[in-house]
Amino acid sequence: MQLDEFFVTGEPLIYAGMVSIALVTISMLFFLTYYKKWGWLWREWLTTVDHKKIGIMYILSALAMLFRGGVDAMMMRTQLAFPNMNFLNAQHYDEIFTTHGTVMIIFMAMPFLIGLMNFVVPLQIGARDVAFPYLNALSFWSFLFGAMLFNISFVIGGSPDAGWTSYTPLAGAAMSPGPGQNFYLLGLQLSGIGTLATGINFMVTILKMRAPKMRMFQMPIFTWSTLITSFIIVFAFPILTVALALMTLDRIFGAQFFTLTGEGMPMMWANLFWMWGHPEVYIVILPAFGIFSEVISAFARKQLFGYKAMVWAIILIAGLSFLVWVHHFFTMGAGAFVNSVFSISTMLIAVPTGVKIFNWLGTLYKSKINNTVAMMWALAFIPSFVIGGVTGVMLGMASADYQFHNTYFLVAHFHYVLIAGTVFACFSGLVFWYPKMFGHKLNERLGKWSFWFFVIGFHVCFFPQYFVGLDGMPRRVFTIIPEWMPLNIISTVGAFGMGVGFAIFVFAILYSYRYSEREKTGDSWDNGRTLEWATPTPVPFYNFATLPHIDSQDAYVKLKQEGKTTFEEDEVEPIHMPSNTGQPFIMMAFMFVSGFGLVFEWMWMAIGGLLAVLVMMIIRSFDYDEGFHVEVDEIKRTERSARRL
C-alpha cells in the first residue's frame, strides 16, 4: 500500500483537520512533559478503577465527540444552505453524514449517559463502587479505543460513506471497497464490547449492591432507568455484535451473508441492524427520562408524581422496544399484514410515553419551580419532545410512512427526540451533578445564554425540516434544488445557533473552573433528594463511610429530617477497595492494534494483536490481587476534612 493511499489526500478541509490534530497532540504532549504530568496521568486516570473518575472520563470524551459530530453537522448545514453550494462534494458529504450519525449515537449519546450513570448510580444506591470495577475500566477503554479507531478513519484510510445504518449491498465489499467501511465495523465492534460489559456491570450493581434495606421500588428513578437500560443493552448488543461480525466476514473473508452473489440476502442486514437499532434508541432515551425525572423533582421541590407508573412505563417501553424494529423499513415490501402488526406495536409505545409526560406535568403541579439552568433544560424538554413524539406516531402509521420515509420529515423527527431527549438530558444532568463531580457549580448566567442559543437554535434548525420533508426533500442528498432553499437557510441558521450555544457551554466550563465558588457542603442545590447528595463534596474515593439504612423513596430527604449522615463515627469499619490497574488500558490498546490491522486486512497485525489480548487475559486470570483495606483512622480523617468538622 502506498503512503498516499494510507493517508487521506486531496481535501483541503482534511489537511486542515490533520494539522489541527497534529497541533493538539503536540501541545498535549508538551504540556504533560513540561508540567511533569505523565505519572499523574497514569496513576490517577489511565489505571483508575474508580467509577467516579471513569464516569468523568466518559463525559469528557463524549463532549469531545459532541464537538466532532457538531462540526460535521455544521458542515452539512453549510453545504445545504443554498442550491449548488460547492463546499463539500458528493463523496465528502456522504462521509460526513455517515460519521455524524455514528459518532453522535455510538460515541456521544451513549457514552455521555453511561458516564452519568457511572458517576451517579453507585452514589444513588449507596454503593462504594460498581460490582466489577476492573470490568468497568475495561468498558471505558474499549469505548475510547473504539471511538479512536473510528475517528482516525478521518485522516487514515478514508471515512465510511454508506450512512450510519450501512445498508448492504452498498456497504459490502463490492460497492464500498477499501478500509472506510471496515473502520465502521471494527470501531463499533470494539466499543460495543465495552457497552455490553457496562450493561452487565450495572445490572449486577443495582440488583446486588443497594444500601441495606433499600427495596427495588425505593430506588431513585434514574437508577431504575439505568437498570432497565442495562437490561436492554444486555439483550440488544449481542445482535449488533453478530451483525457487525457477519458483515466483517462478508467484507474481509468473502462470506456471502449480505452480498448480491451466492444468493446472499442484503436486507437481512437491515433486519438485524434494526433489531439492535430500535432498542438502541431506547438505550439513549430511557436514561434521559430518568435524568429529567430527577431534575424536575429536585427543582420543583416535590416528590415525583406517580413514581410506580413511571417505573412501569419504562419497563413497558423497554419491552415494546424489541417488537417494533420493522417500522424502520415499512417500505421494504413485506406486505400489509406485517406492516400492520408493526405499525400498531409502534404506536402503542406512545401510551407509556404519554403517561410519563403527564406524570412530569403532574410533578410540576403544586410545586415550587426553581428556574436553574438544569431545570430549564428539563422544562424545555417537555414541549420539544412532545413535538418529536407526535410526529413519531405519524411515522408509525405505515401507510403514511410511505410518504415520510427517508425524507427530512424523518430527519426532523429523530432529531426532535434525540436532541430534545438525549442531548438536553445530557446538559441537564451534567449541570445538575457538576458540583458533585468537580466541586464547583457551572456559571448560571453563561449557562442560561448557552441554553437559549441552543434551544432556540434547535427549533429553528429542525422545525422547518418537517415541511421541507413534506415537500419531497429526501435525506442524504448533498445539494438542494431552489424550491427547498428558504426553509434550508432557516435551518442552517438554527444549526449555527446551536453551535454558538455549545461553544458558550464549553466556555462556561472553563470560566467556572477558574471563577466559580468552591462547594462547601455536599448538598449543592439545597434540595437534593437522593443519596448522592448525602455524600460530602468532593466525594471520598470510597463514597460512603457508613452505609445508610434506607426505608423510603427519596432517601436523603428522610435522612435530612432525621439528622443522619453517611458518616456515623462509631459505626465506621475498614473498607475494602479494589486496587488500580493498568491492565484494562493495555488490553484494549492491543485490541485497537488488532482492529486497526483488520481494517487494512493486515492479518499479521490483527492476529498479533489478538494474541496479545489473549496473553493479557491469561495474566488477568492468574492475577489474585485482593485489593486493599482503608483503615478506620484514615476514613475518619478523610471524612472530617471533607465535612469540615
Partner: protein, 201 residues
C-alpha cells in the same frame, strides 16, 4: 465490596465477590443466548440459499453428528460431576472429572474440524453461498466457544494446583461449569435445527 465471608454454603457463594461474579455470569449467559439466537435467525432466513454449492442433505452425516452430540452431552455430565465433587470438597474429584471433560471437549472439536475440512473438500465453504456462510458461522462460533472453554479449563486446572480450593478458585470452576453446560444447550439446538432439520428437509 464488603469482605464479610459467610461460613456456610458452597464455597463459591461465600464471598460477596463470588456471589456478584456468578450473578454477572448468568447475565452474560443471557446475552450469549441472544448472540446465538441471532446466528440461528440468520441461519433460518438464509436456509436453502445454497446457490451452486451442495445442499446440506447431501453432506451431513448422521453418524458423525451423533457421535459429536454424545461426546458433548457426556462432557456436560462429567463437568456437572466435577462441580458436584468440588462441592463435596474433593480437589482430586474436581480435577479428574474436569480432565475427562477436557478430553471429551477436545474430541468434539476434533470431529468438528474433520467435518469442516470434509465439507470444504466437497465444495461447501464459508465463501460458497449464503447458506454455507451461515452454517459455518453458526457451528464455528460454537466451536470457537468450545475452544475458549478448553483453554480456560486448562488455566483453571493450573490455578487449582497452585492454590487448592479457595472461594476464588471454586467460583471460577463454578462459572466455567455454567459456561460448559450452556455450550451444551446451544449444541442441542444446533444438532436439532441445523443437522436434523437439514437432513430431513
Amino acid at each position: 465490596m464488603s469482605s464479610h465471608e459467610l461460613k456456610t454454603g458452597p464455597l463459591e457463594y461465600r464471598t460477596e465477590e463470588g456471589r456478584l461474579s456468578i450473578l454477572g455470569f448468568w447475565i452474560f449467559l443471557g446475552a450469549e443466548i441472544v448472540l446465538f439466537a441471532t446466528l440461528f435467525a440468520t441461519y433460518a432466513v438464509l436456509f436453502g440459499r445454497t446457490a451452486d454449492a451442495p445442499s446440506p442433505g447431501e453432506l451431513f452425516e448422521a453418524k458423525t453428528v451423533l457421535i459429536m452430540t454424545f461426546m458433548l452431552l457426556t462432557s456436560s455430565f462429567t463437568c456437572g460431576i466435577a462441580i458436584h465433587e468440588m462441592r463435596r470438597g474433593s480437589v482430586k474429584g474436581l480435577r479428574n472429572w474436569m480432565i475427562v471433560t477436557l478430553i471429551l471437549g477436545l474430541g468434539f472439536l476434533g470431529f468438528e474440524i474433520y467435518e469442516f475440512v470434509h465439507y470444504s473438500h466437497e465444495g461447501a465453504t464459508l465463501q460458497s453461498s449464503a447458506y454455507w456462510s451461515s452454517f459455518f458461522t453458526l457451528a464455528g462460533t460454537h466451536g470457537l466457544h468450545v475452544t475458549l472453554g478448553i483453554g480456560w479449563v486448562i488455566l483453571l486446572l493450573i490455578q487449582l494446583t497452585q492454590r487448592g480450593l479457595t472461594p476464588k478458585t471454586s467460583r471460577k470452576f463454578f462459572v466455567i461449569g455454567l459456561y460448559w453446560h450452556f455450550l451444551d444447550v446451544v449444541w442441542i439446538f444446533i444438532f436439532t435445527s441445523v443437522y436434523l432439520i437439514g437432513m430431513v428437509v
